[in-house]
Symmetry: C2
Subunit: 207 residues, 2 copies
């Protein structure tokens, strides 16, 4: 989309930057992928770019609570910045819709190949590897990143009287069991979130 | 806003997490601060959270072009994630409105004290220091971060036929001179952007 304009450089560097800029332009589309959750201070749906920003900054503020010490915060943030880019092609699927999520896995993998494939090979490989690591949730970094990804919508639901939980007919048990693995990233934060879920139950925020 | 629920921890840790969560909830508001630029694939105005996400990921992809090698990428990203939070109180001011920008400095400083002041003291100090460093544009990291902050709206204008440049009556000379300091962060990327500005001029994207 952007012309190759760097006249004073070799072709190799020009091609590399053109690919990088093509990727940077493509990912603008994630700002139009809307999630199920609404912002906590207004009633508008949140989009994937806003969500990725918020949880990246949450990681900066909260990483002292990661179960494993000395996690690589830069890696956590890189994962969070890119984790939802596949939704440009595959769309957003609610975490409580388990069947749709399973079917969506193949679409997401195809999307990852296309979108990260716009980058130069070395960066494509790094991004695919980060995305795979995030999805597999085995490393300390991906477990902590996953905790950030889960905590933000729970906070949003708590602050909006259970807006999305009600809309999706989610019960306390469903939300509790779907999210409790976030303790693998942070026992401290899970304890906090479990407390929020209990208060939410008492207040009637679930179906 | 969120209750203090971590029953099994000492008061000190509870208070710390309550402050951090208060900050995390507060910054949700940045998703409703709209910029002057429109998204490149649609005509909607961009908000500060989307912008911060995009330029943080741009830094990940483009940091090989920083003038100074071995810059601290994590620091660059932290700066970019928080650089516009002051606009929750102080609002967005167009970069081509030099008078308004000068008057706005005091508002932004007050906003930084209030918003970062919601955090525990050590994190408040870190965030204030990052914000000051970004604003002063003296270190290699802040200069590269600034380049990211400037490149995104130029790309958006290029891709939308100069949408905001026309709206603000910005001339080629004004845009060129206001942005050329981004070469302090990356000569390579400035060369690319200067090329885009030249093509934009030929295509009539300026007033």
């Amino acid at each position: 989309m952007c012309p190759n304009l760097r006249k004073n450089r070799g072709n190799e560097m020009n091609e590399r930057l053109a690919k990088q800029m093509g990727f940077i332009i493509e990912i603008d589309k994630v700002k139009s992928i809307f999630r199920r959750t609404v912002l906590s201070h207004t009633s508008r749906l949140e989009n994937d770019a806003e969500h990725a920003w918020h949880i990246s900054l949450m990681a900066v503020i909260l990483y002292e609570y990661a179960n494993e010490k000395d996690i690589d915060l830069l890696k956590v943030i890189k994962m969070l910045l890119v984790h939802d880019l596949v939704e440009i092609d595959a769309g957003d699927v609610a975490i409580y819709d388990l069947k749709a999520r399973k079917n969506n896995k193949e679409n997401e993998e195809r999307a990852a190949m296309r979108i990260f494939g716009m980058l130069p090979d070395d960066q494509r490989d790094e991004m695919l590897s980060l995305w795979d690591e995030f999805e597999a949730r085995v490393t300390p970094e991906s477990r902590f990143a996953e905790a950030m990804d889960r905590i933000e919508p729970i906070m949003q639901n708590y602050l909006t009287g259970g807006h999305t939980w009600k809309e999706l007919n989610a019960s306390y048990e469903m939300v509790h069991s779907t999210n409790q693995h976030l303790r693998e990233g942070s026992e401290d934060l899970w304890e906090y979130i479990e407390g929020l879920l209990n208060v939410s139950f008492e207040k009637g925020f679930f179906k």
